[in-house]
Symmetry: D2
Subunit: 139 residues, 4 copies
């Protein structure tokens, strides 16, 4: 059963419009866990010519969304808290790793770390999802 869910999410992400727009690549996925990668492009620069917080958050949210839905039932974001530690290197590659730290029938909580290179911490997120009863609609 797990494999079917994981495969279905992987296929969905491969065709996800926003993942394509941002260049998000789902590298790892299992129930309660995801690893997503993104290349930093010129079109992600803000008014100070560093990576826009929106781009970094997009990467975080993709890892969150996939990790919490990998249990096979629909989970939606309730709350996300992000602390930005440093600006990433221009032209670099970022990874977001989402790990489930708690799950009940109604909610689940994740810690998501964004790193570049040899584990340099760029941003940290604590995220809370609401878990619905219904199965993923695309299974």
């Amino acid at each position: 059963m797990n494999d079917k869910i994981i495969d279905a999410i992987r296929q969905k992400v491969a065709k996800e419009p926003y993942a394509r727009k941002m260049g998000l690549r789902l590298l790892g996925l299992k129930p309660g866990y995801a690893l997503v990668e993104m290349d930093l492009k010129d079109d992600m620069a803000n008014i100070f010519d560093v990576t826009h917080g929106g781009a970094i958050f997009s990467l975080i949210d993709e890892a969150f969304e996939t990790s919490c839905n990998a249990h096979g039932t629909v989970a939606v974001a309730l709350n996300m808290t992000v602390t930005f530690h440093r600006s990433p290197t221009k032209g670099g590659v970022l990874r977001a790793e989402s790990k489930e730290i708690h799950r009940s029938s109604k909610t689940a909580t994740y810690e998501i770390k964004v790193t570049e290179g040899e584990n340099i911490l760029i941003a940290s997120c604590q995220a809370l999802a609401y878990r619905k009863k219904e199965k993923l609609p695309f299974l």
Copy 2:
């Protein structure tokens, strides 16, 4: 002096790569305040065919970034907490309004609300910026 700062930020945003990528329009700006608008496009859809949290956060972050830098000195995001209330209407228009609720010499705090239509609340954010001493580099 204020007018010069506001004009400089407006010009920077008009050319900001990420603002162009996401279609972010700066409608209102003064020290500690910003109003930014974004059209929801097909390429912002997530795996459930609703707007990706990353797109909504990008709008929030643009309002945050411009409102806290409109004092004329460089401010950087430390922490942002977002609560998602409901998915926005497909093809709709979102607005993010950032209001400063506190400012000291070192930090400043903002409440940012995302709405659509007649003030329907989509997301709420509390955001904390670190205020540097240096003037905006593009003044």
Copy 3:
């Protein structure tokens, strides 16, 4: 019906062990709104001889708890984000005001401000509650 709920919560708070321990006074209460007051006492000092964050949060949480339960059904805290703006004056009086900014059948969101004196902002909180179906057990 509202009056009965408000009265029941007021009576519960008057006897609440933790409210007594901290000296929390419920000044105002209606569905989605609460105002709570606390005197700063010597036994609330931390290692720097300023008010402990735990005491300030206790005041915030009392305002949150009462405001979200004043709808008459049980609501429990899911997530609370607090930004501390400044240390309160020693021996002063703090007030926390909780205002509901969004409510659905499942969740509700509040903004809570802690002030002293003539509206000097001490701390700001964004708080998310999960709303159960069951009525308050003490009605």
Copy 4:
């Protein structure tokens, strides 16, 4: 040098008014790390007769405060985000463990977990401190 700092904080906590009021015991301390314990007492009950969020947060904040000040310079709380997973057992013992996940010259970030018994997760916190240049005043 480290030992002197750790000893000085331990002595301060042993005499801290709020730590005494709440029964907070500092079990472990080193730069960027703290472990604090608290017995749940009858006077910590809220209107539903479960432990008040303020008591749980007080434990979290003590672990945060001691871990970030154990570097020897004054650190103050900027932002704390707490997710509450479940109510603790009545009459139980709670532990909060604070771990530094990032530190720069100006800020530091901590993950704090509250557990009871055999590692049952009660609450999780992400906390951000501002680091001043000045040494701890009681060294």
